[in-house]
């Protein structure tokens, strides 16, 4: 399969007075799996349409393989797209649906049928080839939509929330399947979702967007462990990252947590960048808390256990520190009881500090 690198260069887009994309700048290598993630209405689909050539942009450029695709029709861009509603052609059989693009490019029928058959085998839908979309289940339609993209063997696959119309179980299955497909084909994929779990599990690169502005672009580890701002920190991860308002004290060595009588050392990564007296937000993911053993070398907090929610593999605990609520995630079997006060160790090597005014990571 052919490969491509894709560059989205300073793209701006407005509909009349409404600006929906502001200076989006992203570049990926061949074979990467880029996930565009963000809340509904943040401009993900619009960006995808611009890459596909279905929508014009106001300024900026898109390059595929180093060449600008300005003015090229979608069919000339060597892309394929899978839509949220699948957008299958209702009157055509599965075989005709998958083969339609090849038919439009005037590929001879025997060759076309062979390509369709190969894709059908890959997706295990050969037995459905003679059916029409109306006779298929949601999951089967989803596969046909993917088949329609795969059969073109494009440089870049574009997916617009392809799993959001499936039920939860099927969604997890298809997630794995798309990931397998990516590894097997080595294809370049741009995948839009509002589901942060999909983003984390599938991506090699994530672009987090909000209100048409790129918040952070990086690997899933970057995004999860080193969020660029408060929005990314709370949008990615479930339950979200805890944010505790605090003030820098002790010559930049200590954090005084506001609304609670508690102190923690300043995370090492931020020591040199946070002057005394600065108001900050201390970001701690739920799993960076653990029940402290007596011999722990990590800093600790004494927290009051309010609610315990076993989920199976984990236990979520709602904790209280003075006026502050903190979510913790403990391994199953941890000894906690509602109503008791327990000592928790905080993994400050991971904790993140944000400027309380701007919300940007320090």
């Amino acid at each position: 399969m052919k490969m491509a690198n894709l560059a989205i260069n300073h793209i701006n887009k407005s509909f009349g007075n409404l600006t929906v994309l502001k200076d989006i700048d992203i570049a990926i290598e061949d074979g990467e799996f880029l996930v565009l993630v963000g809340p509904s209405g943040c401009g993900k689909s619009t960006l995808l349409s611009i890459i596909a050539g279905l929508d014009d942009h106001t300024s900026g450029s898109i390059t595929i393989d180093g060449k600008s695709v300005q003015g090229l029709e979608p069919k000339e861009r060597d892309i394929a797209m899978v839509f949220q509603s699948y957008a299958l052609y209702p009157a055509m059989t599965v075989e005709q649906n998958i083969g339609f693009s090849l038919e439009m490019s005037k590929m001879p029928k025997p060759e076309r049928l062979e390509r369709v058959g190969k894709v059908a085998d890959l997706l295990q839908i050969r037995h459905l080839l003679k059916r029409r979309p109306g006779q298929l289940s949601g999951g089967q339609r989803q596969r046909v939509a993917m088949g329609r993209a795969l059969v073109r063997e494009p440089k870049i696959f574009l997916f617009d929330e392809p799993l959001s119309n499936l039920d939860a179980k099927l969604r997890v299955e298809m997630r794995t399947e798309i990931k397998k497909l990516h590894q097997r084909l080595g294809a370049t994929i741009v995948y839009v979702t509002h589901d942060q779990i999909e983003a984390m599990t599938m991506a090699t690169r994530i672009a987090v967007m909000k209100d048409g502005i790129l918040q952070q672009f990086g690997t899933p580890e970057d995004i999860y462990d080193r969020p660029a701002n408060v929005f990314v920190a709370t949008f990615m991860g479930s339950p979200p990252m805890n944010l505790l308002p605090a003030v820098i004290v002790d010559g930049s060595q200590g954090l005084s947590i506001q609304g609670a009588d508690a102190m923690l050392p300043v995370p090492f990564s931020a020591v040199t960048r946070a002057p005394q007296g600065k108001k900050v937000l201390l970001g701690i993911r739920p799993e960076w808390l653990s029940l402290a053993s007596t011999s722990t070398y990590q800093p600790t907090l004494d927290l009051y256990v309010e609610v315990v929610e076993p989920t199976g593999p984990d236990i979520f605990v709602a904790l209280r520190l003075g006026e502050r609520e903190i979510m913790g995630r403990l391994p199953t079997g941890s000894r906690t009881r509602v109503g008791e006060k327990a000592r928790f160790a905080v993994d400050l090597s991971k904790a993140v500090l944000f400027d309380a005014e701007t919300g940007i990571a320090i």
Partner: protein
């Protein structure tokens, strides 16, 4: 006293019985109303049919709603093949044929153009598209009488005055407003992603229209065909204004036939002629009426 109490407690214990009785009564009421209304609607048609199958003697002596005692098709045969209309005495059959020669092309052409126009208005944005569609909608509300004189002038210029092609043109022009509106309103309910997918697949204007849209448009095609067929078939005003002599449609001929008969009114012949003139539209409704209903609903309810 104790009996009353029993009845009350029974009602409390099984409230279902009362409910069921009122439901059954309600249903009888509804069906009763429907039967009465259907009878009122059908009475004229039945009266026409019975009268057309009677001899004049029987008509004079009997009830207009009574079943014919001696069935006779003489009236039908006469008006079809030999009744005098104006100065010629060839019956309705030639005019009946004229109506088909007008209706079939007028319907096909206006439905075809309506489908194309609807596709363009539903999926293509161009300068002034809203204004143009507004004008077309406005065309649905122009009273027929207003255009008679300019249209006559136009037909004269085109050398189509008094001809069947001229009448076809008039009906096509008038029908396109309606068919465009029907198709456009149907096509806008089709999800936009389908058109995007087609564009990515490299399908052009005609491929999208013929391969993707038309095969799922049969409900609205049926609506448009029935609408146009009945409208054009039943037209009298355009027919009487723009068609001359032997190119007149059956509606005009029917009028002339009824007015030509001299002496005593031959009710059986008038009724037979009216039945013949109305038959194609009745057949279309009976055969395709359910598609008409379904097609009208298809635009309103998504999916």
């Amino acid at each position: 006293m104790s009996l009353q109490l029993d009845a009350e407690s029974a009602a409390i214990l099984s409230p279902g019985i009362d409910l069921r009785i009122s439901r059954i009564l309600g249903r009888y009421f509804v069906y009763g109303c429907l039967v009465v209304l259907a009878a009122i609607f059908l009475a004229p048609l039945i009266s026409m049919l019975f009268t057309s199958l009677k001899s004049m003697d029987e008509i004079r002596s009997g009830n207009i709603l009574s079943f014919p005692k001696a069935l006779t098709f003489e009236a039908w045969q006469h008006v079809w093949g030999s009744a005098c209309i104006g100065v010629t005495c060839g019956g309705l059959k030639g005019y009946f044929g004229n109506s088909f020669l007008i209706v079939v092309p007028a319907t096909l052409i206006s439905v075809g153009f309506g489908a194309l126009n609807g596709f363009v208005f539903a999926n293509w944005r161009f300068r002034g598209d809203h204004i143009l569609f507004g004008l077309i909608l406005f065309g649905c509300f122009i009273p027929l009488q207003i255009v008679l004189i300019p249209m006559a002038g136009l037909l004269g210029v085109l050398h189509l005055a008094g001809t069947i092609p001229g009448l076809v043109l008039v009906h096509v022009v008038y029908g396109i407003c309606f068919t465009t509106m029907f198709f456009r309103n149907y096509f806008v309910t089709i999800p936009a992603e389908i058109f995007k997918a087609a564009r990515i697949d490299g399908a052009g204007f005609w491929a999208v229209f013929v391969r993707i849209l038309l095969p799922i448009s049969w409900p609205i095609v049926m609506v448009s065909i029935i609408w146009q067929f009945t409208g054009v078939w039943n037209d009298f005003l355009f027919g009487v204004s723009f068609a001359a002599g032997s190119s007149q449609p059956v509606t005009v001929a029917l009028n002339n036939l009824v007015n030509t008969s001299t002496g005593t009114k031959a009710y059986n012949e008038d009724m037979a002629a009216a039945m013949i003139a109305a038959l194609p539209t009745i057949i279309i409704y009976v055969a395709a009426g359910r598609y008409f209903l379904r097609g009208l609903m298809a635009g309103a309810v998504k999916g």
